[in-house]
Symmetry: C2
Subunit: 590 residues, 2 copies
């Protein structure tokens, strides 16, 4: 195809270019015919420039100009002029000029697009995903992906400047399902055997520490074959980091340096470091979440001490059985109607609570509450005082098993924050560390412990002895980085000693045989001089989503999949030839 | 684990640190006991520092020092001193100082390693791959991976600075096998359907051009399920690039800018640009290869015109049947013995040649050759003259079908270059473009044309008409970048028009139905305003291998697989649970 290559982009021309001959290449954003003169907004990813076809200026070009439709691709040549007075567009960086066209070549025509190429469109996401190539032309999506590009570069330059080594780990690896399901890849050369796609490069990055690479990072694709929740993807991108000869403080310092850089360059904020560190227990008791949104206060209060000897069985039983009684103060909500309270009761019941205890606080610390009759005057006084409540306020209380009850109250906290409009649109983003996670969580269904992070997480030194006696009480050297109520990174100091690692597998009910078959190479590696090490991994998709102020990670991924793991654009997954399956030594199950 | 964090790395201490108290963390490289004093070379990835345990200085530390073995991991604290006169080591950047140790903590012990941690070891590659965590501790491997790290950063910064956008394309994509086999991933959520791992992000990067991203790059993993040759990996890394509104010159300029940067920063050479461009036909006739090594001259000569009317049938038949007669001059090799010539004859026969014609050039243009009797005096004279031969030289000639014969002579050229020692160890790396590839290659077995690059490659504008009439004569807008006889990048200007793309599929014998089912989304995308575009992809592994002066790509990949696609460290691929296969709706073929 013969055409002239652009001398400038469509976002580049300014007053200083007036009088120059220029060539632009781009897409027709729209066409306006005004009294024989044709105006076209010509678009590329750098901006928009108005080009003008006047019959008296060049009649041939004017004729072609008249045939242009939206999304045609053209190469034009012409002269930059100052726009006639009164027609300047101060919204556009190029708004002071336009280009009078001498010559035009239509590089490609375009059919009418199924939706308009503009920021706000009212179509289903499925249609956008099917025509992703058009969806990605919209300014909003271009902005998101350009922001993502910027994050990549900032992250890598930061780690490079801090002496980290970027190392690629394999995508075709060993299947070691722990928690989520692996995607499998049948081997053609080894009949009956399979590779797995990595859920994370965890074992490899630890191996790299054993190899002495000291500081490693990688921006890497990871895979989980899970039933997808709204904001999960079967393949997602992780910023993966590991360091040797460190403990938690060194890792926090490294991460906070990165976050301060991103805050500054992306959001324009100065991040105050060191960040707040909140132990898991405190996070749960104050916010009912291990990823609390602390952009607003609204803290929960633990009332166990206040109600431990209550006549009201719901309270005292909860305390006795190691459960919790937790309260939330809804300031000035004493006028909530019965039906408003019923809605909130339903809200917590749907989450699994038995019911919601509420108390309207009256003058003189009197309580208007269904359970008031079960409480002594002193108890009422203590509750009001502990909750810092005043007349006109509303108190919510939940009692029950600890983590579950706190989580439900945490959801009620978020709901009340919405109703009370506590989250201001201009609130500064709030980031903190949650630390000291339990090493294990107990699963009622299978009656066994699971690793809360993963089985390579180090217990706190002082808790090692409890690994066998009371695993539930062991705290981990694990930490999450939380932004606006979202976990954006999680990590830990790792076990670097094969005998402690074996103990850990034992506590998890993983037999020695299974441990050897799955992780033998790591246990072996630990025998040849493994340094103390730890690391962290960031969910890049979610981080970029938050920076872009989007609400779906699909809006910051070029080619995402639907909740059922489909790519609507190319219709994958798809059927394949029988021949291909034969080569792989597998067949379909009927 | 309680230990002191390093104040310095093991490569950092100099004279200016003398007298300071320091903490080092690292590995014991070796231990020497000299008259009660213990010397240890302490190693990390930054270097080596000598640490000293003297019984009189600190007897407790000295005691532990005596128990250290190679590859133990330690944290030590002590005082930097000037080494006693005569014991300095000018080979080491830290060789003027050592550290007198006050305190030592053994962070981890090490069993005896299966091979020594040093640059030159005499063990099988399989053993190195099994213990990759130890192999990667060797200085040579660390250097290779650090070089690779540097290449990543240089490449990304270059593209970032040139306004390219880094965009991630999916790893789980649609299976569209064309040429090599796809790795398949069974879908759990969509019974009987499969994802494929990308052989390259080709279609996605073209979609990104349709989306207006204009300039794209990505360093990305690609996958090919091929029977592996020595120098291939089932997963490999590609620098992937695509640009809109360009033709070949703009792409060459971009790539040459990158290569000049890499040459300078990695190799310390000034790359002379623009690079030489060699059309495919000329490359084949002069060097017998589409990736010629031009660090040495030794050019082949086409003798068709010289011998077209020869009485010697081998020559004249080759010319008549559109074949080739090609000659190679071996300067001063007229004294090659019969047995040397037999070896070379065997060499070309193994490659498929019928035989090797040789001629010793004597005084007065006389030829000592088995075929001399079939040649006229004039013919002999013409051959000697065309070959620029002189008395004492040796001429080789091959005749036969064009590409095959030229390739064999190309191999003989390389063989003779070795024998003549033409490739000097200090030769400057030689880079060039090979251009104007045929669009198709004919496959004798299946009696059909295949795309020489891939089916999205644009024919040269002036050859479009031949697509239907004589596909074999159509030249492509395709180009390879060649370094020292290795293809390190390949690309093309693409088709950006759905009707030309359909013609191309037709020429390849791909039915409309098949084209729609496999590439329908791309053909559709082209209907909504696709810009002219083109791009290139670099084989990063091979490029880094060449820069590192290694001879195997496995030595520049952290965790490579063997020729049969095995990872010897973790023994993948491996068997998986029946349950996992059931979830994926597949079973093993008996």
């Amino acid at each position: 195809m013969n055409f002239k290559y652009r001398t400038h982009t469509c976002g580049e021309l300014r007053e200083s270019n007036i009088g120059q001959n220029v060539v632009l290449n781009g897409w027709v954003e729209n066409r306006r015919d005004l009294g024989g003169v044709i105006f076209i907004d010509l678009r590329d990813r750098y901006g928009i420039t108005q080009i003008v076809f006047e019959p008296g200026y060049n009649s041939e070009a004017h004729k072609i100009g008249g045939e242009l439709r939206s999304e045609f691709v053209v190469a034009v040549e012409g002269k930059v002029r100052r726009r006639p007075e009164g027609t300047e567009n101060s919204q556009l960086p190029t708004g002071l000029i336009d280009v009078m066209i001498d010559q035009i070549v239509v590089l490609n025509k375009a059919e009418t697009t199924p939706f308009q190429i503009k920021d706000k469109i009212d179509v289903t996401e499925d249609l956008r995903l099917k025509y992703r190539y058009l969806d990605l032309r919209r300014g909003r999506m271009q902005k998101n992906l350009l922001l993502r590009h910027k994050v990549y570069q900032l992250v890598r330059n930061y780690f490079d400047q801090n002496n980290f080594v970027e190392i690629e780990t394999p995508i075709l690896m060993k299947s070691t399902p722990e928690g989520a399901r692996d995607f499998l890849v049948p081997s053609r050369m080894h009949k009956g055997k399979f590779y797995a796609l990595p859920q994370s490069p965890q074992t490899y990055k630890q191996i790299l520490m054993v190899s002495g690479f000291d500081k490693y990072f990688q921006i890497v694709k990871c895979f989980r074959d899970e039933d997808l929740r709204a904001d999960r993807q079967p393949e997602f991108t992780q910023i993966d980091v590991e360091m040797s000869f460190v403990d938690t403080p060194q890792i926090f310092e490294t991460v906070e340096g990165l976050m301060a850089l991103l805050y500054k360059e992306i959001l324009g904020y100065e991040l105050k470091t060191p960040l707040k560190q909140l132990p898991f227990d405190e996070a749960m008791e104050k916010y009912g979440s291990d990823k609390p949104d602390i952009r607003y206060e609204l803290e929960m209060k633990t009332l166990n001490k206040t109600v431990e000897s209550s006549e009201f069985k719901v309270f005292s039983d909860a305390v006795k059985s190691d459960g919790i009684v937790t309260g939330l103060l809804a300031k000035n909500c004493g006028d909530y109607t019965r039906s408003q309270l019923d809605v909130l009761t339903d809200f917590v019941k749907k989450l699994g609570a038995g019911g919601l205890i509420w108390m309207r606080v009256k003058e003189n610390n009197d309580l208007d509450a269904p359970i008031a009759k079960f409480l002594s005057e002193e108890e009422k006084l203590n509750i009001v005082s502990k909750m810092d409540a005043e007349a006109g306020d509303l108190i919510f209380i939940l009692a029950g098993p600890k983590l579950k009850t706190l989580s439900i109250m945490g959801e009620l906290r978020k709901e009340m924050a919405k109703r009370l409009d506590l989250l201001k649109p201009d609130a500064e983003p709030a980031m903190l560390w949650v630390t000291d996670f339990p090493l294990f969580e107990w699963d009622e269904d299978t009656k066994r412990y699971y690793a809360m992070h993963h089985p390579f997480t180090s217990p706190r030194f002082e808790d090692v002895d409890k690994l066998e006696t009371s695993p539930g009480d062991v705290r981990a050297k694990a930490y999450d980085l939380v932004l606006n109520g979202n976990e954006i990174a999680g990590g830990s100091i790792r076990i670097h000693n094969s005998s402690l690692q074996s103990k850990m597998f034992k506590a998890l009910g993983i037999s020695e045989e299974e441990a050897t078959s799955k992780f033998g190479f790591l246990l072996n590696a630990f025998k040849y001089g493994a340094p103390p090490h730890g690391g962290i991994a960031f969910g890049l998709d979610r981080m970029v989503m938050l920076f872009a102020r989007e609400s779906s990670i699909r809006d910051v991924i070029a080619f995402p999949k639907t909740a059922s793991g489909m790519s609507l654009m190319d219709e994958s997954p798809s059927t394949v030839d029988e021949e291909q399956l034969k080569d792989l030594h597998i067949r379909l199950k009927k």
